[in-house]
C-alpha cells in the first residue's frame, strides 16, 4: 500500500492520470496523529530517540574518593540570635525558674493558667529546645541540660513563690513540674515541695536571731547568780538577826557574823 501511494504522488512512473489520489486509504490501528492516549512512536522515530538519549557527564574522580566537605550549618539567623538573647536575659533577671513538661492543653486552659500565675507575678514562657540547649551549655546551668527534651515551658518569676505555683499546677494535670532553679540552686520536684513548706524568710530570720540571743541573755544572769545568791542569803540573815534583836538582845551576834565573813 505505501508503495502504491508513493508511485501515485511521485508523478514519475506511469500513472493513469496526474494527481491521482488513492481510492483506499489503508490506515493501520485507526487513530489520528494527535491522540488522548500514548501512541507508539514510528519505528524510525524510536530509533532516533534511543540514539539521542541524554547521558549524564561523569566526573573523572568519583566523589567518594575526594575528602568529604564539611557542611558548616552556620545559619545563625537574626531571629535565632534574638531568641537566644531573650533566654539569656530570662536566666539573668529572674530568681525562680521552673521547668515543666507541656502536654497539649486546650487553649482556654492555657489562658486561665497564665492568668492565675500572672496574679502571683509568674510569667509563662514557651521555649524551643534547640535554642535553650546551646545557651545552657555555655552558661553555668549545665545540670539543667538533660531536662530540655520534648516540649517544655518555663515559669519564671522575680520572687520565689513556690507554694502558689504548686497550687496552680496541681489544678492543671497536663503540666508536670520537672525541676526548678531557685536563687542559682537547682532543685528537683521534691526539693521544690520542701522549699514551699519552709516558712517565710523574715520569720526564719527572726527565729534564728531569737535562738542566738537566748544564750547571751542567759550568760549575764548565770555569771551574776553566785553573787546574787550570796546577797540574798546575807539579806535573809540580817533580817533574821534584826528579828532576833528585837526579840532578845544578842549584841555580839552581828559582830560575830560580820567577823566570820
Amino acid at each position: 500500500a505505501p508503495a502504491s501511494k508513493m508511485a501515485a504522488l511521485s508523478g514519475g512512473g506511469a500513472p493513469w492520470r496526474r494527481g491521482w489520489l488513492p481510492a483506499l486509504q489503508l490506515v493501520r490501528c485507526g487513530s489520528k496523529a494527535v491522540t488522548r492516549h500514548w501512541k507508539a512512536m514510528h519505528f524510525q522515530r524510536q530509533k532516533l530517540m534511543a540514539v539521542t538519549e541524554y547521558l549524564a557527564p561523569r566526573p573523572a574522580v568519583p566523589p567518594r574518593c575526594l575528602a568529604p566537605r564539611k557542611e558548616t550549618l552556620e545559619e545563625d539567623n537574626g531571629y535565632v540570635r534574638l531568641l537566644r538573647r531573650q533566654v539569656e536575659e530570662v536566666f539573668r533577671d529572674n530568681r525562680m525558674i521552673a521547668v515543666c513538661q507541656y502536654n497539649s492543653m486546650p487553649g482556654e486552659d492555657v489562658v486561665l493558667m497564665r492568668h492565675y500565675l500572672r496574679k502571683h507575678n509568674i510569667e509563662v514562657k514557651f521555649v524551643l529546645n534547640e535554642i535553650v540547649r546551646p545557651v545552657l551549655s555555655q552558661s553555668k546551668y549545665k545540670n539543667l541540660l538533660p531536662l530540655f527534651v520534648a516540649r517544655n515551658i518555663l515559669l519564671v518569676s522575680r520572687e520565689a513563690k513556690a507554694k502558689e505555683m504548686l497550687r496552680v499546677l496541681k489544678g492543671v494535670p497536663q503540666i508536670n513540674l520537672l525541676g526548678a532553679c531557685i536563687d542559682d540552686t537547682i532543685l528537683s520536684r521534691q526539693g521544690v515541695e520542701n522549699f514551699a513548706k519552709l516558712p517565710l524568710l523574715e520569720a526564719a530570720q527572726g527565729q534564728t536571731v531569737g535562738a542566738l540571743a537566748l544564750l547571751p541573755s542567759q550568760t549575764s544572769s548565770l555569771l551574776q547568780r553566785g553573787s546574787a545568791h550570796l546577797t540574798a542569803l546575807l539579806d535573809q540573815h540580817i533580817h533574821r538577826l534584826q528579828a532576833g534583836e528585837t526579840g532578845s538582845p544578842a549584841e555580839p551576834a552581828p559582830a560575830q557574823s560580820s567577823g566570820a565573813h
Binding site: Q101, Y102, N103, S104, P106, N143, P146, L147, V149, A150, R151, P173, Q174, N176, L177, L178, G179, S188, R189, Q190, G191
Partner: protein
C-alpha cells in the same frame, strides 16, 4: 518512617496510665515523648475516664510506663531502651486486641 503523633491508640479498655521517670537522667526522652503523645486530644477523646498521671522522681530509677486495663490486666513498659513509636504500637496493638475480644463477647451475648 511513622511519626509518633500519627499513631492512633484507642484507650477504651484502659483504666489508668502511670508514667514514672526521673527527668535528670538521660534515657527518659522516649518516655517523655510517649507521655506527650498520650495527652493528645484525639487519643484522650477516645476515653475520658482514663487517668493519665505523671510521676516525677529524682531517685535515679529507670523510666516506667504502667498501664492498668479495665479487665485487671497490667502492662509495664520499661522505657529506658524503647522508642516512643515502639511503646505506642505495643499499647495500641494490645488495646485493639482487647477491643476485638469485647466486641466478640457482646456479639455472643446479644445474637
Amino acid at each position: 518512617k511513622k511519626m509518633a503523633s500519627k499513631i492512633r491508640v484507642v484507650l477504651r479498655p484502659v483504666k489508668s496510665i502511670v508514667v514514672r521517670f526521673c527527668p535528670f537522667e538521660s534515657n527518659v526522652e522516649s518516655t517523655r515523648k510517649f507521655l506527650g503523645c498520650i495527652n493528645h486530644k484525639k487519643i484522650q477523646a477516645t476515653n475520658r475516664n482514663c487517668e493519665v498521671t505523671a510521676d516525677v522522681r529524682h531517685d535515679g530509677s529507670e523510666p516506667l510506663v504502667d498501664v492498668m486495663f479495665a479487665d485487671g490486666e497490667r502492662l509495664i513498659m520499661k522505657g529506658a531502651n524503647l522508642t516512643t513509636i515502639e511503646m505506642l504500637t505495643a499499647l495500641g496493638s494490645r488495646c485493639d486486641a482487647k477491643e476485638l475480644k469485647e466486641e466478640q463477647k457482646s456479639k455472643k451475648k446479644s445474637p
